[in-house]
Amino acid sequence: MKKYLLTFAVIAASCMTSFGQKVTIVDGEKFNNVDKKDAIFGTLKDQETGEGLIGAIVRIADQNIATVTDINGDFKARVPLGQHKINVQSIGYTTSTFVIDVRGSGKFTLYVKPNVKELDAVVISGERPDANVSSTNVGKSSLSIESIKELPKAMGEVDIIKSIAMLPGVNTGSELSSGFNVRGGSADQNLILLGGVPIYNPSHLFGFYTAFNADVVSNVSLYKGAVPASFGGRASSVLDIEYRSGDYNKWKAKATVGVSASSIMVEGPVIKDKLAVLVSARKSYLDYILNAFNNPQISESSADFSDVNVIADYRLNDKNKIKYALYRSTDSFNFVGDTSYHWSNFNQSISWNHSFSDKLSSKISLSQSQYKNQIKNNSSINAFELNAEIENLIGKVDFEYMQSDKLSVNAGVDFSRTNLQPGELIPQPSEANSLVTQKVQEEHANEFAGYLELDVSPSKKISFSAGLRYNIYQYLGEHAIYGYRPHEPLSEENLTDTTYYANGDVITTYTGWEPRLSARYSINSSTSFKVALNRMYQYIHLISNTNAIAPSDTWKLSDNELKPQIADQASVGLYKNFRDNKIETSVEVFYKTVNNIVDYKDGAELFLNDHIETELLTGFGKSYGLELYIKSNTSGRLNGWISYTYSRSERRIRGAFNEIESINGGDWYPANYDRPHNFTNVLVYELPKKWKLSTTLTLKSGQVFTKPVGKFNYAGQILPLYTERNNARGPFYHRLDLSLTRDFTFLKKYQGEFNFSVYNVYGRSNPFSIYYQDTEGAPPQPYQLILLTTPFPSVSVTFNFE
């Protein structure tokens, strides 16, 4: 009988009040509750794209109600009939106040205006203003992509990884090296997710450029302390890079022309309000430029990268949404010689978001991740290709139940299949070739995990999050497992037998509980104290004996010899905001241990080694530190942050048999990426006439290196004598970057942005590596290899067609 009422549940007629403000009428079924209150169902959408606003805070002040929108932008509230003011706050949107006139229990939609371009002051924030104090999470850093775009560009590109490295507790290795280190963890201990799919090499050209195109990213979250139970598989941190959606309402395009690379992005509705697509591509043209140089050292080199993203979002209805995302990147590099390096990432995922009710929603996703690298040697004798590959096939089911703003439950299961080809050498036709095809055995593993997490806020002062994740790891055939003499060092000489496992046979199983606990106690509305305990398992290991993440590196799955890395971390933090959350401060302390950390033996042969376990050592790692952070988010022209981290990262490898099985005699030694002091200052200044100046200053301890205790003469060469690994520290690192940006209008109606940036403004020669050498014409002495000896300027111009 009341169908007609439901049919007309949404009446969004607008009229003008006497105060000149629009009033949204909410009508539907008549109220029949005793207390004269009933439910209204609102949806918040981006005014420009029509995309639902996730996690926006909705306040109805006269009813003392506050709630948060779900993954579709929906919220629910119980209110009496009559007019009410709704206040909406969300990341990247203007804080808006709407007036609704409730005449019945119905649905309504409010459109919120994005704030980025209109802001006079610069806002560097990825979350609500008091999130650092009010959230339960310890050690979580969020940056909206708009915030990242405010920072100085590196090589003319918005660089997510370099931006993350400005945060406390995050560090990078050498100058321009790939990857990053979080709270004393190694680069492979970071789970980097792009749209929920793992990425194994996050950089182009060995770290000169980021692999992530900022045009397709909405938010970046780094979990370094309390990691939600839904994430697993790495020992140190999770970097979650979220895709944004294409515009549901109108077509837009964006083109960026830079010095060394350009990009183009197109987005829009294929079916209005139903199907939105976003396609973005980036391509470097260093190859073409290099070829034009007269200097053969440059013209004979090649350096090239490209990437493409395709994102499609389909709204079946208000309760169901499907998203497909594809990412592919390629790199190739050759520096005057016969050997060239190539690597590529390929990711795709499809997910289905479903709302069972305004409280319960689910997400089912299937994804694939492929990382391939290749070394090609084209010499006339013994030419070869060396290929390696990692593939993940992942399925996930996640549920989110929001009972109220005081209780929510997350639960889910996930499955990941990993297929790893550590290396295959394929001889190429050449004048003479005595190489034979060699293939290190492929590795396969299944990882199952289930998790449950409760977020509880029993009072305004206390909230906690309690999560538990259980993982099951199976190392699978087809594979031959080598047996070694018991109680003797692993070496090929001690090989005793080989056991063959058929395809799918379970060789080894590991299981583990991963508790994730965090709690907040609010001392007052602007001060809180938080504590977190965290355990993480990692079953895939980067085996490298080079100075940087490189295509020559080898990945290895846990097997019967190589146990999983298990990291336990405890962290506490004190958070205090001033001036109505405009000044944000925090102090965090952490202590982390890692069992079964992997290092290599001296002179380890890692290439194409089917007995790689004989070249590896495992031990114990620990890291600890103090992180200080002050951020200004005022309405003034100058904003930014200062971050200081003191941290140490040390290892102890103590073998059972002899000194070859130990490192530094079994004593503690600093990890390669150990840098005790790390200071970062980011400033963004709004200049007159739409100019914006941003600077970043980085100061940190020098990198560790291995210093000899003497020199000796052998085989006609003077060589350094090393007795301990990582026993010295190089020169202090410091660097200033700046970026100058100006918005402009072109063709009378389109917006554009001009950017001029300089990386390493005063040309500081920070070493990439430190080594000792006996070169002709000079005494044997220490040297530093410097990649950037001069300032690195870049220019880019962005044209927005919308």
């Binding site: 260093l286 004798i381 205790v709 070493p767 080594y771 050498q773 290899l785 690195f792």
Partner: protein, 344 residues
């Protein structure tokens, strides 16, 4: 057009890798015994060098000195004791008629002051006969003194050989070469001010050289045949002006000795780039029998030696560098003689 200067600077920056000396405190220093003991089956005077490490730093500060007064000897599995006598600067020489025998095991013993050092037993494994020693012409980029890249032609030398059950799988190589060179003594200019002072001798000389680099070879994994790349002989205008007579020797090594030299080679090749092997702690098979934790550098090896010779005719190269015009007597050049070798 305005972007071009920025672009040029940017690219110059990308490829502006450079190495600079670094000032590092080197006050810490350890004295460690270094033993180069490489005994062979060759009919030569066998020698062992015993030195000590020196401070890493200024060349004048840390001179590597030989250990004098050590008692150096070999003991074989027949119970023979072969004493080595010190001559100068840490070099100890064996008896005139002593050489290693294939299959025989040897132990090196050294006594320095009140310390005794022993090696683990080593035996010579028979060296393999080659299928062929051959060359191919190639050109490689080289960075010139002005920083540009030029292409250097020359010959790569390869050895093809097969694995057998009785011969060694691992080798260290050494080579020497002799070649005829021509100079222009009639163009000699001397005195002050420089005045043409033609010399009547000598225009034709034979120059010799020997490779100093550490050259190792083994078999590719899974293969019983190898085309081992040994070394590159750059065409400097002299080497292939007429012909180059190459003698390549191979020294058989045990697996452990090969591993030691491979580690040594990886340390020699460190240049600071992104693919460098990290610094490694080099030890060997020599121990202080009273304190096995004392570091001793060096690997006592016993090798069988075989040699092969080939002639590389200059005319066989697809292209050759021009003969440099050296306006002087060819005998002023190093390692030259006007005496024609008997095999020429």
């Amino acid at each position: 057009m305005r972007l071009r200067p920025i672009l040029l600077i940017a690219l110059a920056s990308i490829f502006n890798f450079c190495s600079q000396p670094l000032d590092v405190d080197n006050s810490e220093f350890e004295t460690v015994l270094v033993v180069e003991a490489h005994i062979t089956t060759e009919d030569i005077e066998q020698s062992i060098r015993v030195t000590e490490t020196a401070r890493y730093g200024d060349i004048f500060e840390g001179t590597i000195k030989g250990v004098i007064g050590a008692k150096v000897a070999l003991r074989d599995d027949l119970g023979n004791n072969i004493r080595f006598i010190h001559t100068e600067n840490g070099f100890y020489f064996g008896p005139d008629n002593f050489k290693a025998e294939i299959g025989r095991k040897y132990i090196l013993t050294i006594e320095v002051d009140d310390k005794s050092y022993n090696s683990l037993p080593e035996a010579a494994i028979e060296a393999v006969d080659l299928d062929s020693l051959y060359t191919t012409f190639n050109k490689y980029p080289v960075v010139t003194s002005t920083g540009n890249v030029d292409y250097q032609g020359g010959t790569d030398v390869y050895a093809r050989f097969r694995k057998t059950s009785s011969t060694a799988s691992h080798y260290m190589w050494k080579y020497s070469g002799t070649y005829l060179i021509k100079t222009y003594p009639e163009l000699y200019v001397g005195g002050m001010p420089p005045t043409p002072m033609p010399k009547s001798c000598c225009a034709d000389c034979w120059q010799t050289e020997s490779g100093s680099q550490l050259i190792l070879s083994s078999f590719p994994r899974g293969s019983d045949l190898t085309d081992a790349e040994l070394f590159f002989l750059p065409d400097d205008g002299y080497r292939f002006y007429n012909k180059y007579v190459l003698a390549a020797k191979r020294y058989s090594l045990s697996q452990e000795a090969y591993n030691f030299y491979q580690l040594l080679e990886s340390q020699i090749s460190i240049s600071g780039d992104i693919f460098d092997a990290p610094p490694a702690i080099i030890r060997g098979n020599i121990l202080n029998i009273d304190n096995i934790d004392e570091p001793v550098v060096g690997y006592f090896t016993v090798s069988d030696v075989k040699a092969d010779t080939i002639e590389i005719l200059g005319v066989s190269l697809p292209e050759r560098s021009g003969l440099p015009v050296f306006p002087d007597d060819c005998l002023v050049l190093p390692r030259t003689t006007t005496t024609q070798p008997v095999y020429w």
